[in-house]
């Protein structure tokens, strides 16, 4: 018994993609967070002389690619140790982000303490749009080569994306009431975000209603590609139209002490999202295996009786 367990763990080869993803995420966290913490609280320059724009871009691309490689590299079966690791690291980052966000960072000069909700609101927005983007990519891949892996990953990323988009709207409302004076208004940014939430919620409903996996996969992929049009519109809404919602912030418009909680939470939610998508895609993958399995053949004796 123990022998067979041993061999099964030995035959399960380590996924080489995970090492690449971890390396990319480390580079991203180094330039996004560690350099800033060292600069802010230890008076040390760890930037290797790289300018801010390059460091920011490295952090964004490294985090994005790292997460995507985790998602693409997973076989959706076997050991879940990588997912557990992602969850543990995500929680550590969220604890760091919460501590810096609530206790270390000073209040904003006009908004005061309520501005701290930005440290969850902005990372939630980034990751919600990222989850939708990943679902869009999965939809294209599924229609292109028909691999059921993409269908499972699409189901996971839409579901996680919808949860994040819902949280985004709630956090936004909580921030809006004390600053803008209203919980909600039909401003272009808020309206397009609500459209995004309900469009993808609709795709989840569509998936529930269709029993045939082929039709479900094709229809929901087509719907995902079309619904995805709203993602760039959400992003550009504050630039195209005059709105109540402010423009996107960038490192130059945000004081340095605010960067650390913002970025720690961004990495935390990114890793949490990646782990949740993988876990959810594994559930979808198991269900698909069941649905796609050929019906059990009738035994010859049973067949005789029927005839």
């Amino acid at each position: 018994m123990t022998e067979s367990v041993m061999t099964s763990t030995q035959t399960e080869k380590r996924n080489p993609w995970n090492a690449i993803a971890i390396a990319l995420l480390f580079v991203a966290i180094y330039f996004g967070l560690i350099v800033t913490v060292a600069d802010q609280y230890m008076n040390a320059d760890l930037s290797f002389g790289l300018p801010l724009a390059v460091r920011t871009l490295t952090a964004v691309l490294g985090g994005l690619l790292g997460a995507v490689i985790f998602l693409l590299g997973d076989r959706l079966e076997g050991s879940t140790s990588t997912i557990t690791l992602l969850l543990v690291v995500a929680v550590v980052f969220l604890i760091i982000g919460t501590y810096f966000g609530l206790y270390v960072a000073p209040p904003e000069q006009f908004m005061g303490e309520v501005q701290r909700i930005m440290y969850v609101h902005v990372p939630t927005a980034w990751n919600a749009l990222l989850a939708m983007t990943f679902a869009f990519a999965c939809a294209i891949f599924f229609l292109f080569n028909g691999d059921w892996k993409w269908d499972a990953l699409m189901e996971g990323s839409i579901e996680v994306g919808v949860v994040l988009a819902f949280l985004l709207c709630c956090q936004g409302a909580i921030w809006a009431k004390p600053t803008w004076g209203v919980w909600w208004d039909w401003d272009p940014r808020l309206t397009t975000t609500a459209v995004l939430l309900f469009a993808f919620l609709g795709i989840l409903a569509l998936r529930k209603f269709v029993d045939d996996p082929v039709r479900r996969g094709v229809w929901s992929s087509v719907a995902t590609i079309i619904a995805y049009v709203d993602v760039p519109i959400v992003y550009f809404s504050v630039r195209w139209w005059n709105s109540l919602h402010q423009l996107q912030s960038n490192p130059n418009t945000v004081s340095k002490p605010f960067w650390i909680p913002l970025r720690a939470n961004a990495f935390g939610i990114l890793l949490l999202m990646t782990a949740f998508i993988l876990l959810r895609a594994r559930v979808a993958s198991l269900r698909l295996k069941n649905e796609l399995a050929p019906p059990p053949a009738l035994l010859e004796s049973e067949l005789g009786e029927v005839v």
């Binding site: 000073p106 209040p107 000069q109 006009f110 939809a139 995805y228 402010q246 960038n250 418009t253 340095k256």
Partner: protein
Amino acid sequence: MSNVANNTSASDAMRRKTRRFMIAAFAVAALAFIVIAAGGINKNLVYYWTPTDLHANGDKAYGAAIRLGGMVAPGSIKNQRGVSGLEFDVKDATGVVHVKSNGVPPQMFRENIGVVVEGTMTRAGYFQCNRLMVSHNNQYRAPKAGHPMNKQELEKLMKSTEGLSDK
């Protein structure tokens, strides 16, 4: 054997079909995006009028439900009818509109901040506001030394008798 061959050809046919679906979905998505981004919807979809827009629309502004957006002109805020009555000017680069509002404004309300007010233009020449919303920009700043929000200074002041002894 023939079964396997049939299966592969069937899946190839399905793949060709799903690829056609992909192209069709892309076409619809791209078209929708182009229409929204470049098709003049920017001009048709207006969240608020600036004071200049409001003046340019002349008579249309009277009695219609409109949103007016702009900056609170410095020195224009008046609390004439007690705390719940508020008057101020909303301005943009080329226009000013006088606004009367009832109710307590959000805490962020101050001079030189963006506001969006819902209501209507009256013949008396002022904008009657039913709903006042404050908009802020994308600047998030830690309070500098000497700023009333500076935590350390505030805590020090609260613990000391400084400021009380003057009176």
